[in-house]
């Protein structure tokens, strides 16, 4: 492995591909050397815009590039075939895949097996684990500041399809709200509380027949923890997607979301932290600071050969839970 400059390629030049590629290009110790994009028109423009970056239409054309790591930022249904190709052809063994790991648990498990077989660092892009408010929440929960959690209510809302009329030309992403946004809340819950099982779930179509636009889920953990998830992309006044939790413990209540964290202890003491209070600065700001932290963490893990969280193995649990939610939905 080239320890001077890590050679990285990005597959898929949609909004997440652009974001990661741009951040990777400024990360110290990284050289963005190749892009893979299916659209012929976009590829033509990429070749003109980036004279020093190799642009291809198929990941197998990466095989002679001696890559140290690859980012897979294609639409979710193609994560499995793309990653499988990369592993099978021996193109790279360090893989970052945007969330969710796969479009179902079966494919997620197969990717876990491939990752284990080929080794390397593998990570899934649940970037909210790098949001300063959720990092602080995790720290407080691990420190048992509110005691062992008894229950939680989580939400993941956006206004992306609020007031979109039925049968309009607008199409919701076929992956549905659970894999688009709900997965972030599920991943954070797994990170905060450990594993749990789905009790009940309800899915709703709002925009068009068959679209998965909102979900209500109840879960239970082996230690008795009870949780609820409410997710939707048809909610008013959520211009930016927002994820949040209200967590109750014997010693207090914590409310945390993308913007701030509020802690109310049983004795009445109240604390509140905004991003401003939690050291939210990064070396290069694009999109949200958590994207830079996430990429920096992955790159450092590849350089130092560390294991990372969330790995494929950990993230596959989100895919398992989403499959369970769909199977139990009424």
């Amino acid at each position: 492995m080239n320890v001077e400059k890590l050679k990285i390629a990005v597959v898929g030049f949609g909004k997440m591909g652009m974001l990661h590629a741009s951040i990777l290009n400024v990360l110290p110790g990284v050289q963005l050397i190749a892009l893979c994009e299916k659209s012929g028109l976009i590829r033509k423009f990429l070749k003109k815009a980036f004279s020093n970056i190799y642009v291809v239409d198929d990941v197998e054309k990466f095989s002679n590039l001696d890559l140290d790591a690859i980012y897979v930022t294609t639409p979710i249904p193609s994560h499995f075939p793309v990653a499988k190709n990369i592993y099978s052809a021996g193109i790279a063994c360090n893989l970052f895949i945007e969330k969710t790991l796969a479009s179902n648990f079966d494919d997620a498990k197969k990717l876990c097996d491939l990752a284990q077989k080929f080794g390397g660092v593998n990570m899934v892009g649940y970037m909210r684990r790098f949001t300063v408010t959720f990092l602080k929440a995790k720290d407080l929960l691990d420190g048992e500041v509110i005691g062992e959690p008894i229950s939680f209510k989580a939400y993941a809302f956006s206004s992306d399809f609020f007031r979109v009329k039925q049968n309009s030309k607008v199409q919701t992403p076929s992956i549905g709200i659970l894999r688009d946004l709900g997965c972030h809340a599920i991943d954070l819950a797994l990170w905060f509380f450990g594993d749990f099982e789905v009790e009940k779930s309800k899915l709703e179509s709002i925009v068009s027949g068959g679209s998965e636009d909102s979900a209500y889920i109840t879960v239970k953990a082996p230690n008795g923890l009870y949780g609820e998830f409410n997710v939707s992309w048809c909610v008013d006044k959520h211009r930016m997607p927002e994820v949040g939790f209200m967590i109750k413990g014997p010693k207090g209540v914590m409310n945390v979301n993308d913007d701030n964290l509020e802690l109310v202890l049983s004795g009445g003491k109240r604390y509140r932290w905004f991003r401003h209070d939690l050291g939210d600065s990064v070396a290069f700001w694009l999109g949200r600071p958590e994207y830079y932290r996430e990429d920096e963490y992955f790159v450092n893990a590849v350089i130092n050969k560390n294991s990372v969280e969330p790995s494929f193995q950990i993230s596959a649990k989100v895919d398992r839970l989403i499959d369970e939610i769909k199977a139990k939905a009424y």
Binding site: K15, D160, N257, R275, H276, S281, V282
Partner: protein, 302 residues
């Protein structure tokens, strides 16, 4: 200290329902600031109390605000600082129209429907020859024509700024040709080229490396006492200001999204070098009145 330019701009974030402190805060504000009629009223009150310009992302909403201001005669006394493209709206839209390819098709269709023969011809050439320069120029001309058609030909369009997301993505990718093309295009159009960035120190360094004349460009970047969104550090952003040849920075997020009290926030800005002005969003009449009165008192009269 700001003495000559005295640019005190009303920012448009509240008019889009944006609060960088928390989305909860923008929900608490209610719908009033997002109503174009009320937004125009807030701008008028701000003008009466010391503001002299409006900084806005070019969107249907802000264009309708310009229309109202034009019809009530306010626009002629107002300096306009437009930000293009309204990148977050395009990001949202891309999810609804089939990704980046779908988005590109939609924008091309909008340009075609705008009725500008020149824009259509240049744009078509750009697509056929995959000529990025032609496409960028076509798009910029289209955005400027949208502003002018809403604001009227007598409106004072002082600067057109490249949106933060685009500026910083170009910075990340090292797309130096975009910066050069943008500066040349705007100067030829008789406008001050502007760049909205979240990476002030890096951008200033980049422009120095590229030999871009920093006297001819405007930069809008977060600057506040709390160091909120000052990347990579508050100190490095302050140092970048000292390296500029003249006051050409518009300070944004000066209240750190409502985290700071106006007085302490403005005192901090007043002590910074090379600040051309500030842009501050307001969502209530009293706030518009008090904020711009204070800004005028502290930044202009000092």
């Amino acid at each position: 200290m700001i003495r000559q330019e005295k640019v005190l701009l009303v920012g448009d974030n509240p008019f889009h329902g944006i609060s960088h402190l928390s989305q909860e805060r923008s929900r608490v504000r209610g719908d009033a600031p997002t109503d174009p009629e009320y937004a125009a009223k807030l701008i008028q009150i701000s003008l009466d109390n010391g503001a002299n310009g409006f900084m806005f992302s070019v969107s249907d909403k802000t264009l309708s605000i310009l229309n109202i201001l034009r019809n009530n005669g306010t626009l002629n006394s107002l300096g306009l600082y437009a930000i293009v493209p309204y990148a977050y709206e395009y990001v949202r839209l891309s999810g609804k129209v089939g990704g980046i390819s779908g988005l590109a098709k939609k924008v091309v269709k909008e340009i075609a429907l705008s009725g500008s023969f020149n824009a259509m011809a240049t744009g078509l050439k750009g697509v056929l020859k995959t000529d990025l320069n032609s496409l960028v120029k076509t798009y910029l001309a289209y955005e400027i024509s949208r502003i002018k058609s809403s604001a009227g030909k007598h409106a004072k369009l002082d600067s057109v700024l490249l949106h933060q997301l685009i500026t910083d993505m170009c910075l990340g990718f090292g797309l130096d040709w975009v910066f050069r093309l943008y500066v040349d295009f705007m100067l030829k159009a008789g406008l001050e080229p502007g760049f909205n960035t979240g990476n002030l120190a890096l951008l200033v360094k980049k422009f120095r490396e590229l030999g871009i004349n920093l006297e001819k460009v405007l930069i809008a970047a977060p600057l506040n006492k709390a160091g909120f969104q000052m990347v990579p550090t508050k100190k490095e952003c302050e140092n970048a200001l000292t390296e500029l040849p003249k006051p050409n920075v518009l300070a944004i997020s000066i209240l750190a999204a409502g985290y700071l009290k106006p007085l302490e926030a403005i005192d901090y800005i007043a002590g910074l070098p090379n600040i051309k002005g500030v842009a501050v969003g307001v969502s209530k009449e009293t706030q518009a009145c008090e904020t711009f009165r204070l800004l005028k008192e502290k930044l202009v009269k000092a």
